[in-house]
Amino acid sequence: MSAVLQVNGLEVSVRGERGERIKIVDNVSFAASKGEVLALIGESGSGKTTIALALMGYARRGCTVSGGEILIGDTDVLALSRAELFGFRGNRVSYVSQSAAAAFNPSKTIMDQVIESAVLHRLSSKTEARAKAIKIFESLALPNPETIGNQYPHQVSGGQLQRLMAAMALMSDPEVLVLDEPTTALDVTTQIEVLRSFKKVVADSGITAVYVSHDLSVVAQMADQIVVLKNGTVREAGATMQVLDAPSDEYTRSLMAAAKSIVRVQPQSLDASDVSPAKPLLELRGVTAGFGKTDRDGMPRFRVLHAVELSLERGSTLGIIGESGCGKSTLARTIAGLHPAAAGSVCLDGETLAPHLSRRTREQLRRVQIVFQNADTALNPAQTVEQVLGRPLAFYHGLSADAARKRIARLLEQVKLPANIAPRRCAELSGGQKQRINLARALAADPDIILCDEVTSALDTVVGAAILDLIAELRRELDVAFVFISHDISAVRSVCDDILVLYAGRTVEIGKRDNFTGGPGHPYTDLLISSVPELRQGWLEETHAKTVAEPNSSLPGNGDLCAFLDRCPVRQVGTCDKTPPPRLTHGNGNEVLCHLGQTKA
């Protein structure tokens, strides 16, 4: 079989500060034959997107393809002229980027954008193109393929938009389809649908696909071949089976170790909880919050949190998990007082905190610290590490410059950073280092509770795993309680004692960590757990994760009824759409907001 795509000794370089050439991709070679899916995997900065773009004959600003050749069929991509590239790109090679939301123009209908390139390349008339687009929508399992194209990008969900972008790429019947992290920005429950439809389309059309990802588990489902990249060089390449079963390279093994879900903390020792009776460190009672104008009862128009209850013991960790938009970040902000609750109370050590932080005492503020997801924006780029860490020390503890310097050195040691990093500016640090500083700043206050809002989500797998290790270690060493918010159940499972599942602002299940391994609980929890890709081939076909793909809007949208009703695969007509679900305690001790356990029991 001859290769459709062949890359030989590809080399991409950038100009350094003194005009010297720095290779960011060096001697990369691979080949894929018709109908094959080849995965490029590596951490950020490994050159995987640079290679993907080079396949289109494109180098980002400042980069030049300085060597090697790329053959698509018999065409040498790098030898094409500008005019030839115009006919080549989007025609014989198509590209699907990570963020479909950013790739679509919000002011044009989806159909106009999907057929734009076909019409531009004069491949077909508008009517033909439309008919073809609808066929592709169908094959991608999009709902209402006839009419979805008439909508605007903001009217469809993120997972649908990602598939629509693939449809756009498939319009020209390309020989090679480049998928650049197409599911990274999606929730796991959405990701699974998108992966399934991509896999089907690739199999049906016999297209050659290059799948770029940092996630080994996702790649295991999609790829026939895997190329592992690090720092622009190939570390390992081979058939998926072989790379997964018998990785020969050290780096591949570290990637696999990071992808495995391991439990990093032991459950609290029982005698500890015997000593401190009752009174939890943090307690939320009926916390309701939202956005928009408040009505006569003081309730906001768009409610994000509905009467959330939780309690947190000293030194323990609570995981909060849910998909994007479920209100988990709002919950953290409400606890921190950044987003005042409309109703309910937040109690710290039995003492009720004011809803808004301006009315809390400095001591109360000190005891609850928040760590934001994105360390790039959470650290002031104009400040040095020393200034960032020094401020809470001076602000809360009034430390002198000398004492502060010693404390900063201790803090840096705690988060495993070298002391000589202190005078550097935050903008000069790597993503993992920034996140460590972000944590260290919270530790500087000597808090009782640290709220971690998606702290590992923006990081590479290996770096994220190291941050989880750090959190687990800090928990053991210091007497700090964590509220760990994430959309990634394996991250939550690895560091938390208790887990709270949030769906549409409601607690649908809460219980001990060990009960969240796939046993029957709330249908949403089950879906969430079974949607996390496993690190083996064939998982995608076997998993029983299923949803009613599209929300069924004909169901009554009564606020008291189960919020998961329209997506629930096991809903019971007559019960679920008539009466609000009860909060039941299951056999394993989990509290579940669902009718289901009741009927079974």
Binding site: L338, F372, T377, A378, R391
Partner: protein, 273 residues
Amino acid sequence: MTRIQGSGWVGLLLVLMWLLVALFGPMLAHYEVGAIVAPDVFERMGGAHFLGSDYLGRDVLSRLMNGARFTVGLSFGAALLASASGASLALFSAISGRWIDETVSRLMDALISIPGKILALVIVAAFGSSMLLLLLIAAISYMPGAFRIARSLAVNLNQMDYVQVARARGEGRVHIAIFEILPNMIHPLLADFGLRFVFVVLLLSGLSFLGLGVQPPDADLGSLVRENISGLSEAAPAIIAPAMAIATLTIGVNLLIDSLASGGRSVTDEAQR
């Protein structure tokens, strides 16, 4: 952190030259400002008078060296005043509550709606021309623009996570404004200052051209252009030299500021009236 490169050096050179001229020009000038020293009007370049003579037969080079002081000094002062007051007001407005923000912003909008040159004409006509008045007029005319840019920067920065962290820590508004927000808007503000400086030079030159700026026998660069306007048909250096002076000064400042600011975010050119 900030490095000057390429065209920035040209800018720096031009700016330094004009600063030196402004500071030491009057001392170095060969002739008195008002002295009529040449036998003929609109003399060519070279000879006894390097840049020729003006419409009364005065030495152009000497008048230029004396005039630079007014243009550079007044413009620098006015632009600094406009940018500083605009930025402070913007910071205050961004960290204050909605009502204060609205009030200040609408006031600035009202100020923006008054055409600057007309305002300047009216004020000068009413109070007569003086250095202080010119400085204030220029500062007031260009303050709302600086406010607008600074406020939009501050409002954006106010939403950044690190500001939220500071707020969650319990920091006061003043601390947040000065230590968290201000350092991150300094680069775009510098670029904006360069623009303001140029606009002020043009406003003052315009006023002088109309005879309402610096009064004789002193003359700033704008007045020099105006009083020698009759030499235009003869292509006299007396009119070309001050015009070139205005051009090199404004271009120099912009080149310098651009290269300083390129490290920060680019600032979109505010639509000028």
